[in-house]
Amino acid sequence: MAVLTREAPAGVSAERNARQRRKEVKQWLAVLPYLGPSLFLFAIFVFVPLIRTVVMSTYATTPIGEMTKFVGTKWFARLASSNVYLNSLKVTVRFVLYTVPGVLALSLLLATLGNLRLRGISFFRTAFAITLAVSGATAALIFMFLYHPVIGTFNHLMELIGVGRVPWLTDARYALVSVAIPRIWLQTGFATVVLLAGMQGISDELYEAARIDGAGFWQCWKNITLPLVSPSLFFLLVVVTLNAFQTFTEVNVLTSGGPIDSTQVVVHEIYRSFYFNGQYGLASAQALILFVIILGLTILQFGVVEKRVHYT
């Protein structure tokens, strides 16, 4: 039999191939009802639109978004020399630089406190995490009140400590910081939860061994907690940075990009370009640039996560 199959393979293997293919088709038909719905929605709302964004970024459009004429790299060239766009990139980077260190430092502090073994600590942990339930829009509205020039609490505090009233949202020098503060407040809750989960995964034995060797709290924190929580910290660094690049809500509610474009972040500029100015090609080009930035950061994150898996 073995000889036979080896000697006369053509017909047999063709038949086997056909059988194999029939089996594969059958498998696919069986799988389709399970994967089909998701794949269909991804095609309609993710992949096709992504391609359309790429195409549209090379076309002139009517004010209602119909593509009219191929223009090549015109929009990208215009963006490269557009003060408005370059300003929005600069504002976004500044926003990232305000929020990311703030969130990481604050959440590290809160998680360290929340990781203490004390009675009633779960109450404090809940308090630290409460902003998980708060949306960007409601946070922005609450801070809009806190920033109120006359009856706002912040100006009252500023007067108490002798600084005097600050024109939080109406002065181009302070507006971006004022938009960043509610964002820091919101993200700190999430970041604290992530870091606390990381800290609680650290084995007690490590701390006990260190304490027997005479290490104090600070030494334990510096030499055990911080290094072992660093994967979570890195994850947060990437996620908080990504979120900062995609900021829209707080800006839209608090300043609408003003005063004099001092808070006009990239996504708000995209929104203005297509929703108000009807410049769909230009807006698509901006969206693509943002996509590339975000993709780069995401790949960086996946790369490092991968490495971490290999380590452990």
């Binding site: 009802p33 994967l35 998701s38 978004g65 004390l118 404090f124 990381g198 995209i270």
Partner: protein, 278 residues
């Protein structure tokens, strides 16, 4: 010995003090919002601002509800978020089942296709999606609000991970006994995966409820506004009636605060799932 004790006690007091200060700072904005929502118009305008609840004017809540159709907004958001949640639970369970239990050619590739949707930011597709939803007449509808978010790669991975932890023998035995795939999924896998499904349910509901940019783009009529857009409108409407605006903010926040109180564990698990994957 007793010196040591006193030192311990002082140390503890200092720690509790630090914890309290930190908690007060974090909760302060919410607290102010709540106190303000109960102030009378008179006390709202006095300087310095009131830090303690001097009034309990619950009428502000009635006034906020009268000023804008807040309950309608809440209803809209519930319809949107529930549709997204239910559809994500179903579609993610189905896809996760295929990835965890079924064999087929190109599985790795399809898995990568799912994965890639997580790397494409929403902003990169929002313009064509906006135009598409408008063209097919779904703007200002619940379908338009929910449809783009009904499939989820994140949820699929979450549930697939859980399915993979179920004993493979259980599946093989059931199939040999003549149980169909769909029946296995519905009667055995899904009930066992309740923790993962709960996490996804809470996470997806919260995400849609708090959404801002998409509903801002595709809802035009007041009747179809979701809470996050509606509450912003309320503020633009009543620029200086901050007590009523804050009452509105609290009303809008109640569902997610309840979710936080009663489904804290699921919520945290969902939000940190990405962090703990590695």
């Amino acid at each position: 010995m007793s010196k040591h004790r006193t030192k311990d006690i002082i140390g503890k007091i200092v720690l509790y003090l630090l914890l309290t200060i930190a908690a007060v700072i974090i909760v302060f904005p919410l607290y102010t919002g709540f106190v303000t929502s109960l102030l009378s118009a008179q006390n709202l305008d006095t300087y310095p601002p009131k830090l303690l609840p001097v009034d309990f004017q619950w009428e502000n809540y009635a006034a906020a509800l009268k000023m804008a159709p807040l309950l309608r907004f809440v209803f809209n958001s519930f319809v949107q978020s529930s549709s997204v949640m239910i559809s994500q639970l179903i579609l993610a369970s189905l896809a996760a089942f295929a990835f965890a239990f079924l064999e087929f050619r190109g599985k790795q590739f399809v898995f990568l296709v799912f994965l890639s949707t997580m790397m494409i930011p929403w902003e990169a597709t929002i313009i064509p999606n906006y135009l598409f939803v408008q063209r097919i007449g779904w703007d200002d509808t619940y379908l338009g609000l929910a449809a783009p978010f009904m499939a989820t790669a994140f949820g699929t991975f979450l549930i697939r991970q859980f399915f993979l932890s179920l004993p493979r023998d259980l599946y093989d035995a059931a199939i040999i006994d003549g149980c169909s795939n769909l029946r296995y999924l519905i009667t055995i896998a899904v009930p066992l995966a309740r923790p993962a499904l709960g996490t996804l349910a809470v996470y997806s509901f919260l995400q849609s409820y708090n959404q801002y940019l998409w509903p801002l783009l595709i809802t035009n009529s007041t009747n179809m506004r979701t809470v996050q857009i509606g509450i912003r409108m309320l503020q633009e409407f009543e620029r200086e009636a901050w007590n009523e605006v804050m009452a509105g903010v609290i009303i809008v926040m109640i569902p997610t605060l309840l979710l936080f109180v009663f489904a804290n564990r699921q919520l945290i698990r969902g939000l940190t799932a990405g962090a703990l994957k590695g």
